[in-house]
Amino acid sequence: MVSSGYARNAVHGLNGMDEGRVSRRNALKYLGVLTASAAGREFLASWLPMQLVQGDEHGAPVTISGTHHEIQEPDPVATYSPQFFNPDEFRTVEILAAMIIPTDDAPGAKEAKVANYIDFVVFSAAEFEPLLQKQWIDGLSFLERESQKQFSKSFRDVDEADRIKLLTDMSAPERDSKAQHEGFAFFSVVKDMTVEGFYTSKIGLIDVLDYQGMNYMPDFPGCTHPEHH
């Protein structure tokens, strides 16, 4: 699991940059016309994706906040209550997501609340893609039946080693093109949606992957590795 970016990002700001601080020389080189006036700064503020701190015409630091691009809204995932899965089903979804992307030295599906994302998407599928709902309900039923059959317990009560065995069996076709398993289609949906839900979350994309896109730079340096040139 990718975890290299996490600790490093703790030092830097939101997107792995140094809180958007632009060197004064570069800022004035490219933005001097705009930052020199209040109207110019207002114009910039409506356009830039994140906060900038730079010098005004007297050299004093000026903070320019981005507008709707800037990330200040409350995180919808944090305050979510399941709308589709019942409590038992939801607990199973949480367990499955944490098995696909566990928490180790970096946050995992649990911290990123991937189960909330899955519940929301499956709930929202009613209008145009109700088949997705059926896939999940049938899949969770299948998982319960397998768990009872092999361990005489609900999937939620089976211990970790046995859960891993169940999922390893279900996912065999991933590793062996000749293998077949009745639960593989469901396993694929669980894995795909977990991976999607994790790596599009703020924790997955920014904290864990240290994604550098959507950042502002006054210059485009290209490759800065001498060994590549």
Binding site: W47, E73, V77, M214
Partner: protein
Amino acid sequence: MIVVGSGASGGVTAYTLASKGLKVLCLEAGRMIEPHKDFHNHKPPYRWPYRGHGKPGQYGKLPQGMEWKINEWTDQLFTIPHDDPYALAPGAKFTWTRLRAVGGRTLVWGRESGRFGPLDFKPKSMQDGFGEDWPITYEDLEPYYDKTEALIGMSGGGEAVYNSPASKNALPAFNARCGELLIKKGTAKLGMKTVSMPLAVLSTTFHKYDDVSSMLFARLDLVCFGIKEITSSCQEKAHLG
């Protein structure tokens, strides 16, 4: 003259006719857009209710290979193909996506602007005998390529390679990224040339922006191009100005 549509065809037509002194009415079904309100390229996926994908099935079956185009970042601009009464003639097998706003699909254009080369116009007689030859040649279009590039500004692409004519008066290419340098090294070992793609993206101040108000937009070009995620809508801001 009435020009219907303000996209790549209509926009250029209206501009050219008006530049010649004709009175032009350009009719556009879509609304005027304001880039800082209507473009969302900088919004990360977790700011969208469905992480950018829309509700499952929301956009219907999109044309093959075009599924990536319509998403929460862009669905306010695109029409949904199966709902768009003007997308296709009844029974047509060809499918595409359409954008309903001033500027049309130029708003989401990726700006790769390599010129067609001589062979592209004559597939039957000059390539493999399949297809049909165009009734025009590269040489017929060349002066218009020159004019268009001079108008909008092009960076990179200054070196001609097989069937890819060079851009004229190209601005410097952007600094290569690591992957591009690795490819360049690898292809050199194979005796192949790697050149920069001609991009309708300004890498430096462009000559036509020499008054203050225009310079604001030229500066925005530089701001936008500095953003690592080079976004087509960001580039468009400068050209709408």
